[in-house]
């Protein structure tokens, strides 16, 4: 994991890097008065957020603040109890099952637990990222069309794991597994990637390597990233914008250069003080 990340090869990617401050396009993500409760328990209240294409947003806040719920509302795993979500111009809660599947092919999701099938090769796990664009079930690398296989190798190379492509996933380190999961997301050509605590189960150096990989590929392809994180220092290192949630409310939303580490730490301190 301490190995240097591969440098992007120019000309391989057709999508030009976009500036994070592009404002003349429609937002990638728009949350309007978004509220969510499970039974009597309110998890999110009146959240408003407008994310421009290409931004890398770090979503911080103590555990149980509602970060995971927020991400699951965005990809349509949950339906909100109030307000609305618009992702890439679509409302996942109301678009219907078929459109939701179509939307999900353009929304990547990176999980804390990677979600890889351990006994299969890295390559096959990456290829599974294309299932949304295929009709039939697939089993085995050779059942995927050649162009997709070539794309899978290219994406594994972008995350620095081309040599490990035929290795069993459960023999890779945690950081490598998460990079395989990122390569799987890249297969979708997603316009927005949601990452739910992607480095929570990794050691610090692996965490940094994974986040830098995500940052690099998002800049190359110009997709938006909403990444929930525990580690304040990492959030400040990789993001363009920091959004903090506590007790279901959005309490901080500033561009990263204007955000002081102390301000973010205070969010956690207050939470600790109250629970103690």
């Amino acid at each position: 994991m301490t190995a240097p990340l591969p440098t992007p090869e120019s000309g391989r990617h057709t999508v030009a890097p976009q500036s994070p401050n592009h404002t003349n396009t429609a937002p990638s993500l728009l949350l309007e008065n978004l509220s969510m409760s499970f039974g009597a328990k309110t998890v999110l209240r009146e959240v408003n957020l407008d994310v421009r294409p290409g931004q890398f947003v770090a979503l911080v806040g103590p555990s149980g603040a509602g970060k995971s719920t927020l991400l699951r509302l965005i990809n349509g795993s949950h339906s909100p109890t109030g307000g609305s979500v618009t992702v890439l111009g679509v409302n996942p809660a109301t678009c219907g099952r078929k459109n939701l599947r179509k939307l999900r092919t353009r929304v990547g999701f990176v999980f804390q637990q990677f979600g890889l099938v351990g006994r299969l090769s890295a390559m096959e796990n990456v290829l599974m990222g294309t299932l949304g664009s295929l009709k039939m079930p697939r089993y085995g690398i050779s059942t995927y069309p050649r162009p997709l296989r070539e794309k899978a190798v290219a994406n594994l190379e972008r995350v620095g794991l081309a040599d490990q492509r035929f290795q069993r996933c459960d023999t890779l380190s945690g950081g490598q597994q998460q990079r395989v999961a990122i390569a799987r997301t890249l297969m979708q050509d997603a316009r927005i990637v949601l990452a739910d605590e992607p480095v929570a189960s990794l050691d610090p150096s692996a965490s940094l390597s994974v986040l830098n990989t995500l940052k690099k590929v998002s800049a190359e392809d110009g997709f938006t990233v909403i990444c929930s994180l525990h580690q304040v220092d990492l959030a400040l290192q990789v993001s363009d914008r920091v959004v903090a949630v506590r007790d279901g409310s959005l309490i901080l939303d500033t561009p990263t250069p204007d955000t002081s580490e102390a301000a973010v730490r205070a969010i956690y301190e207050k939470a600790k003080g109250r629970t103690a």
């Binding site: 099938v117 299932l131 690398i141």
Partner: protein, 562 residues
Amino acid sequence: MSASTDSIDEAGRAVPGVERQFDGGRNGEPKPAAGGPPRVSAATLGIPLAYLAVTVFGIWWIDIRPAAVAAGLGDIGRLLQRMVPPTTGPVPALLTLTLETLWIALAGTGLAAIASVFLAAAASRHFTGPRAVRWLAQGIIIVTRAVPSLIFAILFVRIFGLGPLAGALAIAFHSVGMIGKMMSDVFEEQVPAPHEAIAAVGANRMQNFVSTTLTRALPAAASLVIYRLDINVRASAVLGLVGAGGIGVALQTAIGSLNYRRAAGIILAIVVLLLILELIAYLVQRAVAEHADEHTESRLFAPGKEASTPGWNRSRLMRTGAGAAAACLFLFSLGQLSVNSARLGQAWGNATALLAGFVPPVFTQDILLGIFESVIMAFTATFFGVLIGLVIAVLSTRHLVTFAPLAFTLRGLVVFVRGIPDIVYALIFVAALGLGPFAGFLALTISCTALASKFFTDSLQNVDPAPIRALEATGANRVQIFVSGVWPQFVPSFIGNSLFTSDLALRESAVLGIVGAGGVGFLLDESVATLHYQQTAGILIGLIVVVVALESVARWARRKVI
């Protein structure tokens, strides 16, 4: 021991790759007691007492008197004398029937494996489709597990005519429940993360099922199917008794024509076949288990011609070769079932006639008495089998006995005795002693003894030896060591395995009547032969209810005890 070998199906012990998943405490891994007296629950006392009560009644009902047993054993001894020296009769004919047995087992297991994937997916907790479909799948699993394959064979012979097709379907129907049940357990125990991740890329349910659920279950499923194949070969060896093909046909003919030497030769052929297959199954299981935790060789493929094509290495060759060989064998076995269109054309009519004849089911007093007798036979035989089995197990466990040749001989004997299906014992005993539950009781006792001693030996070997050594150091004698150091650790698995043995004995005792050894099997066979299908339905329903009810009681009791 067609059903006794089912044995393991629940306890899950003989399925190496899946062992951990299915253990669920059911086969009672003895956990070293962490100090303090073992807790005695109502079930721990109540179950043995219930068995004792049923046994006392059973001794009266079956009329087991020491004099009768002695006379019976004398008769059996005289019959066995007429079996030596064994002869095989014409070898090519026997070989053909032996192969037919294998094809029946292969075809039946393959069909069951394919069907159970769908059944397991529908029956599992994660199934998101209509609830009625899930209930239906669970119902099919319960019913097919409760009906022994010989009973399915009787019905299918009526539908498809004599021959291996009926046999293969009977095997398939009975296996589908067990494979389906265990596979849905495998599905349910998977961590949900990969499934969620692939749903998030927009894959449909079918794609997601193949890529994450089925893929991850594959090593366990392969192991399960191989294990089940082993059981099914045993089961198909006796299907011929009801005309459903295989080597059992020859056995039936030999005994029917009083050619006991030939019968003995056929029985030996069955035992040898089963032992060879058990060895093969063991070796294949080990290979599958090794692949399942293949962390030594992390590279699954060699680099191919291009970066995106996987190349070939030994591991991939082996896996592909094994898969292709299994598929070819399965397809070939299907071809050996002598399916012809004329017969299939009649089958539909026969099946509808049979099913239409089922309504409304009729329950007569005879049916109830028959089922009752089957239950009594099973429980009484379990009681004796468990007691004798316990003695054999203690004598053949290494750290309890210092005289190794005895342990070795006993183990060999148990393997041989287990090799003979119990309906074959019943067949011989009926020939020696005449019709009635006494022959069935003896046959069941032998198979229960063999089965229980195998279970007990396995779990006695897992007993923590530390207390034994400690007691030895205090100068306690052998009996004291067993009572204080071994028994408290062993009792949960003892009760669990005993219940399990009686579960299997019940299914088996339901079919022994087919050869006239008492119980409801005789009525069932007769009702089909005489086209009294309403009675057939009554017997089937009664049997399923009793088997499922007793299984539930046993499951409850195991939970209480373990």
